[in-house]
């Protein structure tokens, strides 16, 4: 077009600036949400998980208080885990463990759950293949195939698995559990697949010391990957060579 554009210098740009400002503010406020949404949204519906992602947790025991059991209560509430009235047979997906080194007297407390090993012994010993590792690193029990032999409970170095002795009622619809099968921490797979974080991590962050961090160990830009690269952390019973996905600091 041959329109002479020099005559436009005196155009009032106030409205344009205003609109630009609004757009900028909207963009900034939405962008952070969109970014979180896009990388928290781990996968699309109808798509299989891949090993591009490896879910893991980092637990800072310095921030973990003795006597605080918020993670345990959150897990029990989220997954509908009740009590049988017999403490010894109550299922425990996560438990607080208090450690004391008899040589130095140092005491610490930490939450212990399924460590989601990369080479899980429970998967090796399951006769039907019900205990399996998903592509994204979460170790689960396929209750459809579980025959309740408890070999995985024997094989787990962390005593992470529990056996359900009695018929259950009113299970949470996102956490099926039944009599005669073995169960353990699922890393809240129902939440993760929707882009969320496990209930214990959320409870610790919201109501307690913020000792637990969850994220993708394979993503170098994730908070957890940056932290394990920067600060020393260890896996419990690393000598067994299982490469658990849960790492601890401060022990």
């Amino acid at each position: 077009m041959n329109i002479d554009t020099e005559n436009r210098e005196s155009t009032n740009t106030a409205r344009r600036n205003f609109l630009a400002g609004i757009a900028g503010m909207a963009g900034v406020s939405i962008a952070s949400g969109v970014t979180l949404f896009s990388f928290a949204e781990a996968k699309e519906a109808g798509e299989a998980v891949t090993s591009k992602v490896r879910w893991g947790m980092l637990i800072d025991t310095n921030k973990c208080e003795d006597g605080c059991t918020k993670c345990v209560s959150a897990c029990n509430k989220e997954n509908g885990i009740g009590t049988t009235g017999r403490a010894e047979t109550d299922p425990q997906w996560i438990r607080k463990v208090q450690l004391r080194d008899p040589k130095t007297g140092n005491q610490t407390s930490l939450p212990m759950m399924c460590q989601h090993c990369a080479e899980p012994p429970c998967v090796d010993v399951c006769p039907t293949g019900a205990s399996f590792k998903r592509a994204d690193g979460i170790v689960l029990v396929d209750k459809h195939s579980c025959i309740g032999c408890r070999y995985c409970m024997m094989a787990c170095p962390y005593k992470a698995r529990s056996f359900v002795h009695e018929a259950l009622e009113d299970q949470k619809s996102h956490a099926p559990r039944g009599k005669g099968t073995v169960e353990s921490c699922t890393l809240c797979v129902h939440r993760i697949d929707k882009g969320g974080i496990p209930a214990c991590v959320e409870a610790c962050a919201d109501e307690a010391g913020g000792a637990m961090l969850f994220g993708d160990l394979n993503d170098p830009k994730s908070e957890i990957a940056k932290r394990v690269a920067k600060y020393a952390s260890r896996q419990i019973r690393a000598d067994l060579g299982l490469n658990p996905g849960v790492r601890y600091q401060g022990i």
Binding site: E44, G46, R134, D136, K143, Q171, S173, P176, G178
Partner: protein
């Protein structure tokens, strides 16, 4: 001896025949069929027929896909089936599998095939908060 055997078999045969006649004549309109409660939503054509024949195979296949590969969505969700096929009880709340009015029990009681899915899975739709979550999840995708 043979005469005795013949006699025994003929009596047995008569008994069976009379039993068959008695049971069939009890239903004036033929073999009784299960009373299947209506679903809460309308779905695409052919869904009922497809499910009638294939629901077990579909469920077995899809559950492996969901559990082992993490594939989720409306087509793979038992929660979705249970929510759509919820039957309200006398207190207007959905009944659980314990009640004979449950959707799955309509056919399974009739065919005397035990359904053990609900030993682990919840047979009622998720609570209202959970249900909202569920529907939102489906809508988003």
């Amino acid at each position: 001896m043979i005469k005795m055997r013949l006699g025994v078999f003929s009596i047995l045969g008569l008994l069976f025949l009379s039993l068959a006649v008695m049971t069939s004549s009890a239903q004036a309109d033929g073999v009784p069929t299960p009373q299947i409660p209506k679903a809460l939503q309308k779905t695409e054509k052919g869904h009922a027929e497809l499910m009638r024949r294939n629901h077990m195979d579909l469920m077995l296949h899809k559950r492996d896909k969901t559990v082992h590969e993490g594939i989720r969505g409306k087509q793979y969700s038992l929660k979705a089936c249970v929510s759509c096929h919820a039957v309200p009880g006398p207190d207007k709340q959905p009944v659980s599998i314990k009640s004979p009015k449950h959707f799955c029990r309509a056919c399974h009681d009739y065919a005397a095939v035990s359904v053990d899915c609900f030993q682990c899975h919840s047979s009622k739709p998720p609570s209202s908060a959970g249900l909202v979550n569920l529907l939102e999840g489906f809508l988003k995708r």
